[in-house]
Amino acid sequence: SQTIHQWPATLVQPVGSPLSLECTVEGTSNPNLYWYRQAAGRGLQLLFYSVGIGQISSEVPQNLSASRPQDRQFILSSKKLLLSDSGFYLCAWSDDRSYGYTFGSGTRLTVV
């Protein structure tokens, strides 16, 4: 069966520090991978989308970047965090247009 792993679960980082969040999927090949961000009490904002290794689509211009070095690995990064980067970051995958997304357990990032 397919599983998605996302870590860390919580993170407190100072302004200006770098960020690296990792997401891996098991049990499937060539999944579509996504990064979403959710501000407190708000909806889900699509940040990045990938259909294959090295293929990244950015949805919102911002202080973040994403990479997909392996088929089932998706990384969210920042060189210098801003206060506005705080939020709940969710990785998700899908492999068929007729099925829904499966989300990872999320990383709660607080920038101080």
């Binding site: 579509n32 996504y34 979403y36 708000r42 909806g43 699509l46 969710l90 829904g100 997304y101």
Partner: protein, 109 residues
Amino acid sequence: QQPVQSPQAVILREGEDAVINCSSSKALYSVHWYRQKHGEAPVFLMILLKGGEQKGHDKISASFNEKKQQSSLYLTASQLSYSGTYFCGTEKGAQKLVFGQGTRLTINP
């Protein structure tokens, strides 16, 4: 374009019914529905594909009217476990989901 959900919040007593609506200004290929418990990740409930179908499992069902670009989620005889925030998601081309702002559902005993 972000789909619009209504209402923004609903408070029910256990056993009552609820309807959550989702509408889009653009033509839809599909509509997804998810439920998110506080502090947790969203969980997929169901997907409705183009064709005006209605789906459901247990006491949660949904309809999709592609002509009106609308979908509705129906929760009947609500249980305490139904509490959470419900999101609809619509495709922004090539399997990229854009989510509505969410509907917070509270079920009281």
